[in-house]
Subunit: 138 residues, 12 copies
């Protein structure tokens, strides 16, 4: 079982800044925990602030993995291109948001990804990634 | 650990009708499985087609349980009263939808519950309830 | 041939109040006439002011009758739950409105039921129910 | 009793094309059946693809008949002129749509005719015209 | 001085029907009065219920007259084609409405003609045509 | 003088929860005070979380009392059925809201009740009910 | 106890014109009655048709009185400046409307004042001012 | 015959500035011409840049004149107060706009005055005032 | 190979008026050139200012030709009837616009035809018709 | 170099009230500082709570000064009249807002002045006026 | 003659995935055919999933080529930056879309590019690029 | 004092193209002048056409500088990601636009950056950057 985790813009700040939104722990530290919890799963991680690089990651990892956990962050709400990339691959993509986007600004309530996602998990903090792994394990 | 599961209108049809939307298994059968998977959790289940009875369930179970898993179904999109009830209780409420509401009609994309929910899980079929239990177990 | 007639909120006032909207005759009196006009049809009648009870009626009568004549009144315009119930049953549902809802307030112009109805009959007063029976007789 | 039936644009295609929308029988054939079913009613039939000719038909037949059955088809949704013509005559106009316009594109949900119609009948196929005759017979 | 008066749909009913909207006098009678008031002006009159014929009138009379008085009635609010025709000719077009369209339904508040008109006169009844003549006389 | 007070969803929580919204005193305690302040008024009180039961209360008490004080809470903003019930009775209905709904979410700014109410009182806390009594005493 | 009453545009017409909207009694006459009913309250009254003078009144009387009763009339719906003035003072401002603004045109349904008001009283005619005094007396 | 002409904000600039919008002649000069053309009409003229003063003019002149010609300029589009003043008086008010407001910005297309005006004259330059006089002369 | 070219309202003005929009050459002259460039294609040409005649042309030529090039001009944006006609025939319809409708008014940006067209060609002037022929030649 | 500073409604409260919005210093004190910083500039200051007086100031000072610094406060968002006055004068007008209007309510995000302003400076507190002076000095 | 072809996000998938949208042939294969069909044209090809790189391509190739054929795919609907780049160069840009974007989701109906394009070609599959070449050849 | 200047898409064209929008001088030349005017300020300059690189610049320079001057150009109106980056750093960000975006297309009137900016400077041409430096110098 190979799972790719793809994080979008500003999520490289996890653990560094605005802990009320981005949490208090870096994603790298969290990833170590996740790997130890799921020793039989092979995880690959990619992050970018560039919309088009996220499209690249989705296209490439869509060929090589069994599932993708995607937190497109701000691009969730503006990127038709990322939505199209998700629609174009065959493996399930689970959409995750750390904060409760429905309790934030209105422009964060709509997602171009959800329609094509295997499922959506919102508002559980970092634990959302773990729930996404559970969902992919079937 | 006591968890209440509250299902809204037409979810009594689970396993009976429109399997492409409501799945092929009755909720009672699914609940048995869930109980066997989580023997240390005490589950209570309530379903109603009446909006106000769901408000009653949320108010009452909000006093007696450690968490609520709420699938308000069609009332998700129209009921401020249910949203207010969720806001009025202290225990976490996890919002679950069986189908991917973002891939259905536009009027199913907005939820009056999400803003006050501890988290939202959408589109994983019956497995969504299991993920919600996981999220409440901490 | 078994036909169920289901009336929604405030239609218990028929014959009592606001005759310009609800007509001058009680539904019970009208029903007697209807039965005498169609002696070979078995009619059942249910009315409720509670949205969820209408959902219950639709689910139950959807199993036991050959067709439903539904006047959901005010819930027509706000109830996704009733629309979902209509979509979930197999027998034809004919939507009836006594007054011409298109000549009233804008918020009465949209119906959550119509999309799933076998047909819609608007504005003929009590005669609309008779036309609905005709339509079900085929 | 003299009833005029007026059909709008593309309804000359009835029986020829897109049977899922326009049915499988020509209107002329249907009209013969209707006449044999109601031997005491005198029917006149007019069809045009031109909006203004429909206005003419409504104005003229509004002087000479006891009622009009109007299926303005696509002009239903765009023609204030036809709505004005209906408002300007004294005899009842019953609006009919063969298909369920509420289950089609959003731009077919609004009608400029309904407000002034004696009643509206939607979605019963060709049978809708028969129901309209019934409604006019009183 | 040659002035063309072009009237749109349902204005052939002037003097016959709905006097609260269309006035109590036929346009032909009114035209006689107008001619006697302005003996030095040559008037031509055209009316049609067909949008495209109004386009024809505007194109043709736009070549042969010194000014047009246009009451496009219901087409005012829906016809880009008539607006384009007005824009395409060189002589001044004065837009007239008998009733106060701003005191009627919202869909009568917008005009596709006004932008290209030399001026707009609304709500003075038949006198509006006389004011339009005055405006063209300079 | 007989006055009915009807409270809607979640108002059974008054004095128990979210004091910043629902105040710090139970409605039953408040009602005792009100009765002692107006010894010549006979008060009846009804509360329900079910929309349709509120319709029932309004219909019934509309026959037996001199006035109704109605706080429909969340249903204020979503229930055409309650608005219709208010429109259908002859006695004055005074609409009351404890909190200032205009300082809360946008979806709480519109009321389906106000149009048919004798008057509206917003934002004075529990004192609003007292002002409503004053208004009914004339 | 010093209470200021501030009336906005066209309310100087009270008692003179459009009695169905502005009532049949001049505000000066009504004020005499009010003073005799509340002999322990000192009332000051100001009226202007000028938006900015109302801002002046609110600023000044906000320093010298214990409460303001404000009927900003038409400016209620268009004046951010008056709303800002209300927000800038410390004493309670009770918003009053004589007619039921929710039963009139849509553009009268929104108020820039309500958000900052201590409370809002709508539709009770002149009695609304008396209820406002009651509310300020505590 | 006494006619009042009331001009709104920035119209004191007529003849001074932006001749493509405000024309090349001062209103005072134009008024002299108008008076010489209609020696039997008594004209009074008022201009203000203050919305509330225009309300005052309308109220006062509505008592003393036979008709008002009102060009409320920018306040046309924002002032409910001026619309209310027009509605409150008994004499006819003719709305005039010098430029073609329908060919300018969208926010100039709506008028709060038109609904209550006896008629509206748009886009004829200064001649519009003359046409308005004609319309009042009957 | 038989290709029909159908032009809508005001396109009979091509070469005569508003050359910045309608070009400097009559369509008849252009058609001669086109025929000489494609000697193996049989061209038929129809133009009308009447919406319903365009519906007629589409229905008839849809039976007799191999493809249609349709420039519905202003009716593009308002005519559901023309869109329905295009949907009802089996041969490919190529939509052409001479000017760049996306650089003009907003109401010209939407087309009721495009959804059913084989393809859309916008903004190339008269050359757009030639490209449309190329597209139909395969 | 003569610069006029014009402040709109409620800005006379600067230094007195709501320091989080209007700052902690009176404008008169600030103006002294400004004058000492720019000894070669002649400053004139005008403030009014009346929209029309601001129009007057702009018209008059537009003739006598080299530039205007305008903070129209709440009228920024509602006054077409002030926008028209700015458009009508020849000297540059710099629009200033003390607070960050884009971080406040939505109705403060649009300005009728900006389109005609030489430039816009938002959110720098009182320093914004100084930046505006800099911008005018060239 | 030098023509640049620039493709946007996910168009590197052409021939690989979702053949109903992206066709069954890789763009490289198609390009070979195109070159053989137009031996006198020099073609350059660039593709990127990164919005900003498309801006770079447009800026650079806008200096070195005679025309650009641009299929910005998903960025068409969201990228003002690409639209600005097209506006900033002097050579003609022909916008191409392989699928009929008007028959897909609503958010694909608007283009930020079209306004500045020399022309737009939609829905002809890969043949659209060939038509674009034709259009540039003049 | 270290100030970073970050320019967004197409601003590398400054001095080269569309001088009416982008000015007539390259940013590099302008930067030299700025440095000579503020010898005590250390300036760093970054430009990119790639949205995500701007996010990178903001994140990085937000750690190393005392303030940022950000002209995100077209991304201003579409990039939630850039707005999030501005919100995530602690140093002040001054938003600058060279042209008056409020006098251009509507889609340029909204900014995702402004809400989090220390201040906004619009429409002063290149001088806007100098004013931004002044604002940061305090």
């Amino acid at each position: 079982m190979k799972i790719a985790i793809i994080n979008g813009p500003n999520l490289n700040l996890l653990g560094n800044r605005q802990p009320e939104i981005y949490g208090g722990k870096s994603f790298e530290d969290f990833l170590k925990e996740l790997k130890s919890q799921y020793p039989n799963v092979e995880f690959d991680y990619a992050q970018s602030n560039v919309e088009g690089e996220l499209v690249n990651f989705i296209q490439e990892m869509g060929q090589t993995h069994n599932g993708i956990i995607l937190n497109a962050a701000a691009y969730t709400h503006t990127s038709i291109a990322i939505g199209d990339a998700v629609a174009a691959i065959d493996i399930p993509v689970v959409e995750v948001h750390i904060s409760n986007i429905h309790a934030r600004e209105t422009f964060r309530h709509h997602s171009y990804v959800s329609k094509y996602a295997a499922g959506v998990i919102v508002g559980f903090g970092m634990k959302g990634y773990k729930l996404a792994v559970e969902s992919l394990l079937g």
